[in-house]
Structures are given as C-alpha cells and as structure tokens.
Symmetry: C2
Subunit: 207 residues, 2 copies
C-alpha cells in the first residue's frame, strides 16, 4: 500500500519535534485530516509567523515583540536583581512566582559535547550588562543563577560566577546566588533521591 | 510579562491536537523558535497540502492520492475479503501483517453520545459494495469486522452484522467474522486483565 506523499510529509515534520515519536506523529497527522482547511491554515500561519512576530530583546535576550521585551520596559521592576536562565520557557516559569526583578536569557547552556561553548550563548551580553550597571543608591547588583541542575547547567553557573569574579567584580559590586535545591513542596522525605536530600540538608535555613 | 502573540497562537494550535497539553504545546513552540525559517515553511506547507494532496478512495474510503486507493487498484488483492476498520490508521496497522484482502474504512464508529449515527460513517457505502459484489467462482464475500473492542466499536460491529443479515444476505453470500480478542503475543497470563483472559478462553482454538 502506498501512503500519500502529503501524509508522509506531515508525519515527518511532526516526528522532527522533541518527544513526538513515529506513532504519535501518525496519530496527529490522521487527526488533522479531519480538521477543516481553515483550522489547518491557522496552524500553518502560526508556524510561518512565529519568527517574524518575535524578536530577541536587545537587553535581556528574552523573546518579545519589540526591540526590548515587556519586562525590561516595565519601570516597576527591581533593577538590581537579574535571574540568569537558560531558555525563555524558564522566564515563564519564574514569572508565575511573582518575581519582580529582571532576567537574562542565555539561550542554552555550555555543552562541549554538542560543541556549545561560552561564545555560543549570551554570556558576553550578560557581562556587558553587569559592566554597564549603575545604581543610584550604590546598591550591589544581584545575579541569581537559575540554570538547571544538570551537569551542563551546573558548569554554566560555575563558569559565569568565575568569570564575574575574574573580571574584578567583588561582592560589593555583584552579589552572586544560585537558586536553592531541595525537596519540592509537598515532597516526602522517604521518596526523595539521595542527591536532592543531601542538597536539601546542605542548604538548610535557620528556623 | 506579555507573551508575544505569535507564540500564544502557535501554542493554541498545538494544544488543539490530541494528547498535547499546555506544557507540551509550550515546549514544542519554544523548540520551533530555534528552527530555521525554511523548516518552519516546510512544516506549514505540509499542513496546507495535507487535504489537497489526499483523496478519499471512492471504493473503500481509505485515504489515497487518486480517485481510488492503491489497495483497491492492486489486481493481486483477494477480492472476496474485506476488513472493516474505523480509521485509515487501522489500515496501516493491518497492512503490516501482510494481509492480502481489501478494506473498508468507516471513518468513525457509531457513538450516540457524540451524535455520530450510522449515517455519519460509511456504512451505506459498505452495504452498496456488498450488494454489488459478484464472484466469478460463486464464493462468498467475507466481511471481517475489525473495529476496536470499545463499547462503540463493539456496537458498530453488531450493527453492521445485523444490517447485513437483515438485508437478506445469508451465510452463503456473506461470511461474517470478527478479529480475535485474546492475550497479545508475549503477554503473561498472570498480568492479563480478566476481560481479555475470558475472551481468550472463549475464543480458544483447536490444538
């Protein structure tokens, strides 16, 4: 039996997405066969306009609609707090917590195995922001390193913190912190893995 | 923080697909942001051409490229064997077994709760095929009912078999069968659910 080309093409497109295997790609494609053409067009247009409708913010490298993103333009944000994250999705997650500072999106982590070095991600731009930072009250800038706790995420955080100190920014100028690792809220101690638990004990706070 | 419209639009499109929740839709959209525009265009074109590049076969209602599908056009197929399935995906699955007969795709099952009656699916067309069937050797036509074993699938199979007999086609003209239910090959008896196991015992074959 010959499968129509227009079907195999769409299956291939779906399969190139992360977490979608051959079976899911098939299922999605056949599901779309029952969609009215109008909805397929809406989907296709959303794909075509994805990149033209978004811009990387010149300041924090987050994804926005204009030259600078809505966070950087918001005057009510705390200017001397920058959370450093790997991807724009992390910004979404942090925004939900009600965080009121600024962001810096690296668009990746240092990953030598996939030939991603420090130059491939927005570390130079972060350093430029730090160099250009001036606080009217003379307060220090706090850099909160919020990369994932994977090996790549940890080494990226290490690299950035070392770079900041090596460039000559002391504690008085740049305060460095890393988001806490520990048991998730609602998580049971008996089910926690040993690394998380040991990190939770290390990072214990006064009570 | 304001999320760019072009991102929310694509997230919404992904979310309308089966099995893709808000988190996956977000993840897929942000993944696509890193795609070159050319690949996004290929994906969009695949969506746009999905329906124009496919046609419902006038005989078996399977999805093909021309008026009749490649199975119906294949002269080497056994003409007096028709597997009745709910969707074109089921045809793919059966094709992999090396089955050499024909198909009839219903494009759905009778599902009163979602207001899908017998008229909404290709049952009338199946009856027309049966009425028009003539075998040069006088052999009976075998209709193999291969709808799923869900309540809707079972009742659709029941409905079709009753309709065929009520229309006056006896055993000599139309042989009716239903695919076997039982333990999957490699499945352990101790892990089988009681319904599957009882169906496997009911459907036991001589050894």
């Amino acid at each position: 039996m010959k499968i129509p080309k227009s079907i195999t093409k769409l299956i291939e497109s779906f399969q190139s997405l992360p977490g979608i295997g051959p079976k899911s790609a098939q299922r999605l494609t056949f599901h779309l066969l029952h969609f009215p053409q109008e909805r397929l067009e809406r989907f296709a247009n959303a794909l075509l306009e994805l990149k033209s409708g978004t811009k990387i913010c010149t300041i924090c490298k987050n994804v926005g609609e204009g030259e600078t993103c809505s966070v950087c333009e918001d005057k009510s944000r705390i200017k001397n707090q920058i959370i450093v994250v790997a991807s724009p999705m992390d910004v979404f997650a942090v925004e939900k917590t009600g965080y009121k500072g600024l962001y810096h999106v690296l668009h990746g982590v240092i990953d030598p195995l996939n030939s991603i070095g420090p130059e491939e991600i927005y570390i130079v731009d972060l350093m430029d922001r730090i160099k250009g930072f001036e606080d009217s009250f003379g307060d220090a800038l706090e850099i909160i390193l919020a990369t994932n706790s994977s090996m790549e995420g940890e080494s990226t955080a290490m690299y950035i913190s070392k770079l900041i100190r090596d460039t000559g920014f002391g504690e008085d100028r740049v305060k460095l912190s890393r988001i806490a690792r520990g048991l998730p809220v609602g998580g049971d101690i008996e089910y926690a893995d040993e690394i998380t638990l040991s990190r939770a004990i290390e990072g214990r706070i006064d009570f």
